[in-house]
Subunit: 298 residues, 4 copies
């Protein structure tokens, strides 16, 4: 079948390649003229025969909103938009409504797999109507790993469910990463462990903690023993925050996911205002020494 | 080569089978006469030609201590004991010293893999001297998955390092399990996710969170949709506690691993004394309603 | 001066009394005819000479919105509304704008003190313009404890700042309560502590942990030793959730406040879906026993 | 009555002064010749008429052990030692046994109040026999604030109970301090709060969160607005660690106290090894940028 793809960055570019390799015809647009097949969204739309399917793979927020708006003017009844970016699930109802007014179908699709998805296939979580899902199924099959569909694809529920599932996936990811990281720090702190990197490496097969993330961490340790070349300053990209917010709104306790999120916040603070207050308190009641800013800076 | 195995339960029995399948001669003892090859530890020792290698695979604490003591009287210089149970690493120095006085070598070996190790191979983390490790290497190779040794075996350091590494492995495991569990609870709480079990299933391939633990959780969900037949009451077996204790002693922050441990503690409390206090406080300052024990019990 | 008060529940009723005791004239309205001074908001407005000051003390959300809407039609330029309920700070800009269109001033005021405020005075945190604050100062002075104004009153910033400060106050309160509660549970679990209630009692004077909340907890323990008559089921009323949400939006780590919030969520779960998943996992990989629902229910 | 005091530092020196002010005769020894009344422990013992009461107020661990050992040789049947330092409760049984062999009584006493205790009185938590407690009661009464004894003194249980109660007291203190600190950081991060220091100040009276610790924090903020002169580097002194260890051994969930402890650990790390691992993982799977050590250092 035919597919239009808008956004040909690290993710969208690889996805175009993987869908093409499965024998489909893909027309891609991007602001970067060196990677695109057509020079405008309008041209992309004219290059597809109706009913069209267009995959939007641009950054969440304003860029996605603006592409959806543009498509709502160019596509028509019977066409279908798949929004595959990292949008907050709460954006989907709006996007679906904007397109629905014009008779255009809408699916939201959470995509996992990162830069490895091109070769290994992606995990997909989709929200929307059954009929729209059925129609796009050849594309979904092209993107997921060959084999049992139920192990890499799910129609998670109505519009929004795909991004919701992806959000929770990423929240879990925060917790998993932090669990390995805490264990690694403890191994590195213990004198009787002479080879903490090799211990992590030996967990890749046979153990209960084996996983793809562990494989990646071992790869990083083998490239850069002791991770000496990188700092602990760690960004977060939104899904972890949304996961905790949703957990709060459902009264679901998420001590692990929230702890992982807060560890990232702390990693970005050169000094903690909260700990200044704790330190000040200790000085007040116990006459404990505090470390002055001068001492720290000199 | 020859190997004596003491303890033929779920783990030891499978390990005997796997080592035998690799072509080694294994003599096993257990209190259960239906599974053992010899009727006493003494007989096991006489059935092996020196220098002997004996693997101890009995519960941590008193059972292990008692087997080590018995072996110290039966084995002699040049023999080697491998302690493969879930002992606290701090027991190893004592065991090593008891045996060392008699010239008997000692390795501690953390074993991961559970009931699946028989077929898939185990992950092994070993502490002790290089020469002892080299001598037992054929056994370690038999137990680990075929392929790259460094992916399933590590000589982690001197005596105690094997159990230390296993302890950290299990601490990480607590965190990983809790991360998936929190995500699962959130999926199940969200109305727009119509198939939370299927979402977990679809993460098995292609996604960032794929892992062996996820495979197991999906297997459990496919056997028992919604996990409706089991309760949340969850035991802990020591390693999680030791991990947090060690982290404290090294001043390593472990918010995720400790949160996972505390969640298990909470799961076993029919009512929380701490939360009674919080509830009492709310009543005191705000006149908030509390739920009386009568209301709860009726 | 004159003050109108709308909402004469536990908080509003006491505040009317305290302001009257300071010599001001207060006209109160409530849906409950047995406590009110006038029979409608309209009558309340006519009973005050302009420029009027009206304190709104009704539940957050719809009730507050609806009173503000009604007042916007009854009051006029130069009048002033003080919104003293437990509203989310983000409601204040809307309320302020609704009233501002009619030339009516607006202050948001977080009020702390609970049922004790009548006798001991309240703590007040106010957001809005300097001129409005100055005008209402006699009322604020009547409500706060006599003595140093800076110890119980703050003009925290522009509109919204009062409720924001109150929200953070309550978030801290969650953490404080949980800290005492955890300590209490530990004392009660330790056999060598023969009198855990008395230990808490002995912390009321001289110690570093002395506080008003501790006084209340001790009062509760003296009324109900061991808190045997109440359950741990604990509600939360919104501010704790908002505090964590705001912390996330500012990338401020709040491990303690969030842990206190999650403990309340857990206290309300008869069984934890997350811990079912952990328990299922343990059974899968280790053959560990799980507790079936039947065992729990029988 | 008479009292010997060994250790005249910040705590012991003030306690001597307070007990003297209550009309008792106090003989003090310290290594520092400028503060002591006698030149040796032996001289101190001879200066007291039997049966003697000696208060030991030296650092926990080796210093306390060594003083106890010395006293066991100098005191005799009927004499009484009160160990008032910050010892781990598990030391008390040993100390009690050492002295008990010589017929010397033993009480352990947790002391709270810091440098303020001289004027305000201390909070005391005592472990040991009834008869010993009764005998030392005049000293305890001299040290605690005047008024209701039950509000500042508790006989918490047998030997060890005093230090256990003090340990829990300090664990709670960690949680309280962190709760205020998190709230302070959030206030300081929110633009609409124009005066975060003043908000904390206004909580001193009337509010639910008022406490002695809050008073101290406000004092610190009034001395050093924004706490700009001190760093967040915060020590911990043992009791917080012991509290978490004990909670683990009793399977008591302490998410708040442990979070407060870990926040101190983190405050002392110039870079977090765990977060290096998280950052490395993000780079591996997503091609996310990491911050190199060079970038951080330059």
């Amino acid at each position: 079948m035919q597919l239009g793809v808008i956004g040909l960055g690290r993710m969208g570019g690889n996805m175009r390649e993987r869908v093409r390799a499965a024998g489909h015809e893909v027309v891609g647009f991007d602001f970067d003229p060196t990677v695109r097949d057509v020079d405008s969204v309008a041209e992309l739309v004219t290059r597809l025969s109706g009913p069209r399917v267009v995959w939007v793979m641009v950054p969440a927020g304003e860029p996605t909103r603006s592409v959806i708006a543009e498509l709502s003017g160019l596509l028509g009844p019977g066409d279908l938009v798949i929004e595959g970016g990292n949008s907050r699930f709460s954006d989907d109802e709006f996007h679906s409504a904007v397109l629905g007014e014009r008779g255009i179908g809408y699916l939201d699709c959470g995509v996992s797999g990162g830069v490895w998805g091109l070769d290994e296939g992606y995990g997909l979580m989709v929200g929307g109507d059954d009929a729209d899902v059925a129609r796009a199924m050849p594309i979904f099959d092209a993107l997921t790993p060959e084999g049992k569909r139920e192990d890499s694809f799910v129609h998670a529920g109505p519009v929004g469910a795909g991004h919701y599932a992806k959000m929770v996936h990423n929240g879990i990811e925060y917790g998993l990463m932090q669990a390995y990281a805490e264990g690694y720090e403890l191994l590195a702190a213990e004198p009787r462990i002479t080879a903490p990197d090799a211990v992590m490496g030996a967990w890749r097969q046979g153990t209960v903690v084996r996983s793809w993330l562990l494989d990646l961490l071992v790869a990083a340790l083998r490239q850069d023993p002791g991770l000496s070349s990188i700092s602990g300053y760690t960004e977060d990209s939104g899904e972890g925050r949304w996961t905790v917010e949703e957990a709060i709104s459902h009264a679901v306790p998420v001590p692990v996911i929230s702890a992982a999120l807060f560890a990232r916040f702390s990693s970005r603070q050169p000094d903690s205002p909260a700990m200044k207050a704790v330190s000040a308190l200790r000085q007040q009641f116990g006459g404990h020494q505090v470390r002055s800013m001068e001492a720290v800076q000199s």
